[in-house]
């Protein structure tokens, strides 16, 4: 597309030459010369300038919390105007040569998925007199891993499985504490024979007594994240997409809690599964080990707010006798219903409240009243959960202590 500058140049050249001729002034005629030459130079058949030649690639992070992307422009035009949106919050326009590399650095204010850089552009040729059509958007999506908090103790599942964990089970096996002295039976190892006990307590000649220990078993931990809401500290930003002024959000807390619980559980040898409680939400099947933890962290970092139309929570399958951490703000009661259902099925359910400490400044009187009402309804949900035996932990500064207290208060049944 040619800009109106062409009309200005051609019209100006003709007018100046005409005026110069009318007034017999060669100096005025000479003024038309640069405009005419410019028009002849620039008015070329338009080149194919609309080839979309921009791509974005992530760069290694130079600083913690700063995402760097490289925008590579390779276009035949003299100039390219780029519109760059950083972290979906700041729009910048830059004009660069047709072949250029631009670095975009943006601070990650929140964990989770983010469009670190979104670029569109158009070509400008011939002193911006030939303007190309707008290119399609090229988006670089990144997943920011949440921070991790050390959790010394986690509530134990009511039912232990397997013989390879780090929790002491109730079955005879290896690795656990002393269980009992038992008559030797086929299958017992000879090195288990307790000669002192045999000498003291054997009642018949040839009778051997073996020293038995408990087995070590692993527990099953399920992390279920409710992504219906992403509510920030600043209540005035609720209902907006203003993640710059929102402060820490509930999903920031949820991701941090999920990663911390997963890390602590995998460290103790437990099997950890991860579910996002929306239709089609991501699930990671139960597993253990460092590679499984890496899969979990990637899934957690990629967990963002679900769309408005995904109010339906699916019920993910969980192993029998699991410890289930339900991470939610518990505002609409759907996550609470799931927690109650799981509790009724015999699982140990911990309701992790991810709502951050609220900043109620700048609220109007009706807004403050509305907030009080929804918080009161939420308290009612927590009362129902407590009555059903669901333990509650508020994810705050002392979450590790609270989880440790719950872990010590009830160690779970053994099998």
């Amino acid at each position: 597309m040619r800009s109106p500058a062409f009309v200005g140049a051609i019209g100006g050249a003709i007018a100046l030459a005409g005026v110069g001729l009318i007034f017999s002034r060669p100096d005025v005629v000479a003024l038309a010369l640069p405009l005419a030459l410019w028009s002849l130079v620039v008015v070329r058949p338009p080149r194919d300038l609309d080839d979309e030649r921009v791509r974005v690639r992530p760069l290694p992070d130079e600083e913690v919390g700063v995402l760097s992307d490289e925008i590579v422009v390779a276009c035949g035009a003299e100039m390219v105007e780029l519109e760059i949106v950083q972290s979906s919050r700041r729009t910048r326009r830059v004009v660069v040569p047709g072949t250029a590399r631009v670095t975009s650095r943006t601070a990650a204010l929140h964990s989770g998925p983010v469009e670190s850089t979104s670029v569109t552009g158009r070509s400008l040729d011939g002193d911006a007199a030939v303007v190309g059509d707008e290119w399609r958007h090229v988006v670089q999506r990144r997943a920011v891993a949440p921070p991790e908090r050390a959790l010394p103790a986690l509530p134990l599942a009511p039912r232990l499985t397997g013989l390879h964990g780090s929790h002491e089970g109730s079955r005879p096996g290896q690795g656990g504490d002393f269980r009992d002295i038992h008559p030797f039976a086929p299958g017992d190892e000879l090195r288990r024979v307790d000669w002192r006990a045999t000498a003291r307590a054997a009642r018949r000649p040839g009778e051997l007594l073996v020293r038995r220990t408990n087995s070590l078993s692993d527990a099953s931990v399920v992390i279920a994240v409710d992504t219906a809401d992403d509510l920030g500290e600043v209540v005035a930003t609720w209902g907006t997409d203003d993640l710059e002024r929102s402060g820490t959000t509930s999903l920031d807390h949820a991701r941090e809690a999920a990663r911390s619980i997963a890390t602590a559980a995998v460290a103790t040898g437990d099997r950890v599964a991860y579910h996002v409680l929306v239709q089609g939400g991501r699930s990671v099947r139960g597993g253990t080990g460092s590679r499984h933890l890496a899969r979990l962290v990637a899934a957690i970092a990629d967990t963002g707010q679900s769309g408005d139309d995904s109010r339906y929570r699916r019920t993910p399958p969980v192993p029998h006798g699991s410890a289930i951490a339900v991470l939610s703000t518990f505002f609409d009661g759907a996550a609470a219903e799931l927690a109650l259902m799981w509790r009724a099925a015999g699982h140990r359910v911990i309701a992790v409240d991810t709502l951050p400490d609220l900043d109620t400044s700048r609220l109007t009187e009706p807004q403050a009243l509305s907030l009080r009402i929804v918080l009161a309804e939420r308290d009612e949900v927590f009362r129902d959960l407590a009555a059903a035996g669901v333990e509650r932990v508020r994810w705050g500064a002392d979450a590790a202590v609270a989880l440790g207290m719950i872990a010590r208060a009830r160690t779970g049944a053994r099998r």
């Binding site: 800009s3 200005g8 051609i10 004009v95 040569p97």
Partner: protein, 165 residues
């Protein structure tokens, strides 16, 4: 460090291009136009063109500048200044039409523009100097050049308009 950064190398703001257009207009007015009224008028129109590039006021400045030349005698150096100013104003106005004021413009992106300006200026200034430094004829002289010039202007107009389509 600021939260969000774009690194494009040495750059200027889009406002600088528009300010440069006003500066060129003011400089040309001061050099060519002795009347204060026309000087102020030129600057005001240039400012309006810088603030609202789509208004086309920058090209109005191009049409007002010849008034300054017509007011005085033919002078090669005044013509040279006017040729440079007219061309620079046109290029800056063309850039201002497409480049937003709040954008950052990499200096490297302006290199082809500067090269083209220099090339066009070189040819224009040489031709203008050759024409203006030619000895003035006495009597009828080269009066035949007037209809030839008129034909040349008409031909130029036809060529430009056909290529612009």
């Amino acid at each position: 460090m600021r939260r969000d950064q774009i690194v494009i190398g040495p750059a200027v703001s889009g406002v600088v291009l528009r300010a440069a257009a006003v500066a060129v207009a003011a400089g040309a007015a001061a050099a060519l136009q002795p009347a204060l009224f026309w000087q102020v008028t030129l600057v005001l129109v240039a400012v309006a063109g810088a603030v609202l590039p789509r208004s086309g006021m920058a090209w109005v400045v191009l049409l007002v500048l010849p008034v300054a030349l017509l007011a005085g005698e033919v002078s090669p150096w005044r013509a040279a200044v006017a040729i440079a100013a007219v061309h620079a104003l046109h290029v800056l106005a063309s850039l201002a039409l497409a480049i937003p004021a709040r954008s950052r413009v990499a200096l490297a992106a302006l290199r082809p523009t500067a090269a083209r300006w220099l090339g066009v200026q070189l040819v224009s200034q040489l031709v203008a100097a050759a024409v203006l430094l030619m000895p003035r004829a006495v009597g009828a002289g080269i009066a035949w050049a007037a209809p030839v010039g008129a034909l040349a202007v008409a031909l130029l107009a036809i060529i430009l308009l056909r290529r612009a389509r």
